[in-house]
């Protein structure tokens, strides 16, 4: 059953549960009503019988000969005259010829439907109502002795007569009513269930319609139409929240699509440059006959471009792996001074070639946390940039220090600085500050954005410090290593001891 439900739409299963609930409620309700009504009907039948009994006692009259007579008000009862029998008792004369156990009066009804069982009830004490089955129905019989008192015209008591009055009523009417009720209830149940089903179905449809619309709308949102958003009906209800969450997802998706599109465009631009060089060098090389040395030069030049292309692809792969979080970073304590000196030693020759002064300055002994390999490359790129953009004879300082915010490495040069209009975009991909006043500068524009990623992935920041009038200062800020440096593996593991 449940698997069947699961294979159907939400609408169907909602309707199903609605109908099931309705059946249970209606069944309980109908049973309750039936029990309540039948008990009520039975009680009121008993009340009527007792009323008949009192009436029967009041309707008695004594004839001058001492015999008893009953008014039969046909008019007031119509055909519905009560079933009534009056029995004579032994202690009072019931008439000349009457004996105990003799019926002295009975209504027409009692004559038509005699109850042979009724006589047995005479010996019974109390005034309980007893059910006696008859031909086509059950009679309820009340048998009770009573004393009839008669008065003369002056109001003086004349005589007392003790009789046993027996009244009865058929349950036929009540049974008919109950049957009618049962019929109504039984007919009503399916009608109610069907109504509940229809109502539940349309309600589910109405409730789910916005979702369906949303699904249709979402289906129409393709890669070309990612700017499209779902309409948010009521932002406070569940559907509105669903729509806004969906829209947020779409937003992120659009952003990454946009990023990818930009990336592809940028990359193809970057790839085109070396490819164009290879093609034109090759084509021009083939135009005329040359000596071997010239051909060697041409092929060499093409190979240089291939090299550029290869290293570009390499960088792009590294960048994309970083961007998608595939690169795993270590967490180790790094002595910043040692790192700065390593990098300065590594690139020192480049500065020397340009007669630049590359120095490491130190304030305190700052120790940071991060992946040494990744941070080292970021610092290499920063210092390499500084060497490139600072004219010959310039000065580049790598300063490590301990600050309130963490530990820092500053790369300070006294080059031309970065023009204000380029400062904001300096870390975005493919932007290069200070466009070549000193001749062509190699490398791709990926550098600074990769460096920034490298630092940020290690929980730090890479910032371009405010313009001091001369040169530029890039600052790497890293989280400080705590005094008692534990091995990185220790820190990564959750500690059991609390």
């Amino acid at each position: 059953m449940l698997t069947w439900l699961r294979s159907h739409s939400l609408r169907i299963s909602l309707t199903f549960w609605n109908v099931a609930a309705m059946i249970v409620v209606l069944a309980v309700y109908a049973t309750g009503v039936y029990i309540f009504v039948s008990r009520n009907a039975s009680n009121s039948l008993d009340t009527e019988i007792r009323y008949d009994y009192q009436w029967a006692a009041a309707m008695a009259d004594q004839l001058p000969d001492g015999s008893l007579r009953w008014f039969e008000e046909e008019s007031s009862f119509g055909s519905n005259t009560p079933w009534l029998q009056v029995w004579c008792t032994d202690d009072a004369g019931c008439g000349a010829s009457s004996n105990r156990g003799e019926v002295i009066y009975r209504t027409t009804k009692a004559e038509v439907d005699p109850l042979p069982e009724a006589e047995k009830l005479l010996t019974q004490s109390g005034d309980a109502i007893v059910s006696i089955p008859a031909e086509d129905t059950t009679y309820r019989v009340l048998t009770s002795p009573t004393t009839l008192r008669f008065y003369d015209r002056a109001g003086q008591p004349v005589s007392n007569k003790r009789v046993i009055i027996q009244v009865a009523r058929s349950e036929l009417l009540m049974r008919d009513e109950m049957r009618g009720l049962l019929l109504i209830l039984l007919l009503g149940l399916p009608i109610g269930v069907v109504a509940a089903g229809i109502f539940g179905y349309s309600l589910a449809r109405r409730a789910l319609a916005p979702i369906e619309r949303m699904a249709e709308h979402a289906q129409s949102i393709t890669a070309d139409r990612l700017h499209d958003r779902l309409p948010i009906g009521n932002p406070k209800n569940e559907l509105g929240r669903l729509a806004s969450v969906f829209n947020e997802t779409l937003g992120r998706l659009e952003e990454s699509f946009e990023q990818m599109r930009r990336f592809t465009a940028d990359v193809s631009h970057e790839l085109r440059t070396p490819l164009t060089a290879i093609r034109s060098v090759g084509e021009v090389g083939l135009r005329e006959r040359r000596d071997e040395k010239a051909y060697r030069g041409i092929i060499g030049s093409m190979l240089e471009e291939v090299d550029r292309l290869a290293s570009l692809v390499d960088r792009l792969l590294r960048w994309s792996r970083a961007e998608t979080g595939q690169t795993k970073l270590a967490q180790e304590v790094i002595d910043l001074r040692e790192l700065a000196e390593d990098v300065a030693g590594h690139l020192g020759v480049l500065a020397e070639e340009k007669q630049q002064l590359l120095t490491v300055e130190q304030a305190g002994s700052p120790r940071g946390i991060g992946d040494r390999q990744v941070l080292r490359q970021a610092l290499i790129d920063l210092v390499d940039n500084a060497i490139k953009y600072t004219p010959a004879g310039g000065r580049i300082r790598v300063r490590v220090a301990e600050m309130a915010a963490g530990v820092t490495i500053d790369v300070i040069d006294n080059g031309p600085g970065i023009p204000p209009e380029l400062r904001s975009g300096i870390f975005s991909r493919y932007e290069r500050g200070g466009q070549a006043p000193f001749g062509p500068i190699g490398g791709t524009g990926l550098g600074l954005s990769i460096s920034r990623w490298a630092v940020e992935a290690n929980g730090g920041t890479l910032t371009l410090e405010p313009d001091q009038g001369v040169g530029s200062t890039f600052r790497i800020t890293l989280p400080r290593a705590t005094k008692v440096a534990r091995p990185p593996a220790e820190r990564a593991r959750p500690t059991n001891a609390a």
């Binding site: 590594h346 020759v349 020397e352 390999q373 490359q377």
Partner: protein
């Protein structure tokens, strides 16, 4: 399998040239490798599919196999696994366009002896093949030299024509490496890895290498008519006595 290994050893003295099997589906690359390696004095056979390579390896002994990982049909990794399962001991140099650590690990775990990421430099291929063929064997020399350039690895003295040359530590290591591979082109990649011990080659590192080469040149070649350190444009550097 033992028979095969034996026969392989037997063939070696007869033909001087080491036999190389190149398994590469890209025809241009395959024929370039064939021509280049033949130029280096190897006996080269080319197969374009993994199946053909397996069949060939069962009947023909080779000294080294160059295996592309992306092959039609049975890919290189499967070929390699099959080879090793069947007990072939031939050293395998894997060529791959996939540049991730996982690939490297699976490549080396499945029995590759070395790997090269495409696009590789040809000189790099030659260097790796040479390394695979000479595995375990160290020269153990204490003196290296070419022409009138001499290097004593023990006293760390370098002279050219009897004139003493002062070198920095890095310059010494660089020259030692070039001397070890004299008359062979050494790429910047190789130098970055073997002399600078850097994991990845970068633009700044290239510049550093170039500067060191320039300084070495100034110290060694500046005053001599025969220039030993030669630049092979677009490829790398070479230490050679005669002008090429």
């Amino acid at each position: 399998m033992n028979i095969l290994v034996k026969s392989q050893e037997k063939t070696k003295p007869e033909s001087e040239a080491a036999r190389v099997l190149v398994v590469e589906d890209e025809h241009k690359v395959a024929s370039a490798l064939k021509e280049g390696l033949e130029g280096e004095g190897y006996d080269v056979t080319v197969e374009h599919t993994g199946e053909a390579a397996l069949v060939r390896l069962k009947t023909d002994p080779f000294d080294v196999v160059l295996l592309d990982l992306l092959l039609p049909g049975r890919d290189g990794l499967q070929v390699l696994t099959t080879l090793r399962e069947q007990g072939f001991q031939t050293p395998v140099l894997v060529l791959t366009a996939r540049d991730t650590l996982d690939d490297r690990v699976t490549g080396l775990n499945s029995g590759a002896d070395d790997y090269l990421v495409k696009p590789f430099a040809f000189v790099e291929v030659v260097a790796r093949i040479r390394a695979l063929l000479r595995r375990g064997g160290s020269t153990g020399a204490t003196r290296l030299g070419i022409g009138d350039l001499e290097m004593d690895l023990v006293t760390r003295k370098v002279t050219r024509g009897g004139r003493k040359i002062e070198l920095t530590l890095r310059e010494f290591e660089l020259l030692e490496y070039l001397l070890r591979y004299e008359s062979q082109v050494v790429s910047r990649d190789t130098l970055a890895r073997d002399v600078w011990h850097e994991a990845a080659r970068t633009t700044s590192l290239d510049n550093v290498v170039d500067v060191h080469i320039a300084r070495l040149r100034r110290k060694i070649d500046a005053d001599c008519p025969i220039k030993l350190i030669q630049t092979v444009r677009g490829v790398g550097f070479m230490l050679r006595e005669d002008e090429g």
